[in-house]
Subunit: 341 residues, 2 copies
């Protein structure tokens, strides 16, 4: 059997059959790029020890289109997205699993590029992909590649972060500018060229989270404003905690090219997806210390206190505009950006 | 906002947007069917305690076509398949995560049926789905629904099963008849009608595994012969352990309607997928005890000792035919059955 043609070959139905061709795809592409002691065992599952503490598990299916974009690709995004969902519980992410759904005809060169990017992101984050699965669907029944990543991690004893912990008086912090990821993808998809000045913010945030918790273990909750953006994520947290929120618009960082692109596209940056930012809610008296810890970390240099949790039986999120008025930040109701992650 | 129309509605792009419509789909369909204390928290991840022992993690993407079949559907299959991958390490499966990739236009009634079947399978197995994710792709970019399930479980201290543990002299046991799942799906897909007499064997095997390990903790390895069937799975184990295998064809149970369908379809039951059977390899002197334990369990009533591990530097799997001859059981090389799981 000749080697896999990683330059000109493409995914075939036989690569999903469980037979020799699938074995070859796994050996010569997946296992080679992602190599580690667990994958090397070639079992249908991985076994490992976890440090003491509560276990956290999160899963994310990635269907982003296009697959490659400034600042990343579906492979790195699939690693970052799931690591971040684990980290938002205050956990240290430890291991990842990855399930691939490939479309017949997809170029093996693109698949190799994606898997190598995934491997690099996992290495950089220190969170190995220890088990996986590969399926193939007929041409026209998928879209290149979909990747579902699942992560497990451990929360140190004593911490209990959850979206229902916000209390009136708490401060709301944001780790950096919003809208970069979503605007990059939309601009690329529509051929608008804005992506020359911007790029996805896709990154793994567990290092920032660890620094924040070391400084302020009293953090009530963390969440990454991905699909639905900052506006929707704050509404989720307000509903879970049974509180309202009062934001200050001028405190929310939006990069100038992102603002310009949003104006051109008729988008509100509050509802545009992010893949490398987080929201933190903490008691008022710890907010300055938390802000300082965030700004001292490379991923939180533009961090800001953007608002306050208030008592509100309607659980409204409201925002003070630069002109002194007030605006409702409602749930996103229509479709804003499909297949953004 | 009116309630989700579970009778006549269909999946729309907005159900993947991260906004109000996605929230409604999660509340009224997923969370309602799969309900448990973890999903009720509405966080992006689940937190739980695990009993002491090594942690096992396995993931499987399910793309089976058709979605509904005699003996199950993609929902129950996604639960059983991943539970089995965890159980084959000798582990007790504890928690599941599920990622859904939905195609625009897919009937909500079918989705509800699938999610309810998944919930029933999880309840029956005692392994809850504690976290999940939902994405939507455009019509023509998916195929109804794909489900990726990931499981975590725990191996009791002292056990270490792995595909590289088979030793010459060991016996090879099979828990029951082969080919049922694959033949059912193919017959249904081709409209052949054989499925009237047969059905998928899809089932969760962790109860059988626990009974087997209680009787014979010296089991070397377990594996479920899914894609690629018994023939391919035995080749995998032979390669991992660096051994050969000698099978006895007449000892391998194949149900009569499955044999007839395979003959008609030109399939070899050795390479047809199973979703509720397992292979066990154990030291020769423990084989009778293990067989007895398997036959005492409802899922192992037709269990059989089907062969012996032999020293063979070529790692060949060979089989004695009913007429006294010998036949090579090679790796599956072509495509046999696409999208069987």
């Amino acid at each position: 059997m000749s080697r896999l043609d990683l330059r000109n070959g493409s995914v075939e139905m036989v690569h999903g059959s469980g037979g020799r061709a699938m074995g070859q795809l796994i050996e010569e592409l997946f296992a080679r790029a992602l190599r580690n002691e667990w994958l090397d065992q070639r079992n249908d599952q991985a076994q490992f020890e976890l440090p003491p503490g509560r276990v956290v598990m999160a899963t994310d299916s990635h269907v982003i289109s296009p697959l490659f974009f400034p600042g990343g690709d579906i492979g790195s995004l699939a690693v970052h997205g799931t690591i971040n969902d684990v980290a938002m519980a205050g956990a240290r992410p430890c291991y990842l699993a990855a399930g691939f759904i490939l479309e017949e005809g997809f170029p093996l060169a693109d698949l190799a590029r994606i898997v190598e990017s995934m491997a690099a992101a996992a290495r950089e984050a220190g969170v190995p992909v220890v088990t996986g699965d590969t399926k193939v669907v007929e041409h026209g029944k998928g879209d290149g590649v979909f990747i579902t990543t699942t992560g497990v991690g451990v929360v140190p004893p004593g911490l209990h972060l959850s979206g229902d912990q916000a209390r009136p008086g708490d401060r709301i912090l944001l780790s950096g500018s919003i809208g970069d990821h979503g605007v990059t993808i939309l601009s690329l998809r529509e051929g608008l060229g804005f992506e020359a000045d911007i790029g996805s913010d896709s990154q793994a945030l567990h290092g920032l989270v660890a620094a924040m918790l070391a400084a302020v273990p009293e953090i009530r909750c963390l969440r990454d404003p991905t699909r639905g953006g900052l506006g929707n994520t704050l509404n989720e947290l307000a509903r879970q905690s049974g509180v309202g929120m009062q934001l200050v618009e001028r405190a929310i960082p939006v990069r100038e090219p992102v603002r310009a692109a949003c104006e051109f596209l008729g988008l509100d940056p509050l509802y545009v997806a992010n893949e490398g930012k987080l929201i933190a809610i903490c008691p008022a008296e710890r907010a300055e210390r938390l802000l300082e810890a965030m700004r001292a970390h490379p991923q939180g240099r533009e961090a800001a206190i953007i608002g306050t949790v208030v008592a509100d039986e309607h659980r409204f999120v409201q925002m003070e505009t630069p002109f002194g008025g007030s605006r409702m930040v409602d749930w996103l109701s229509g479709e804003q950006l499909p297949r953004i992650c």
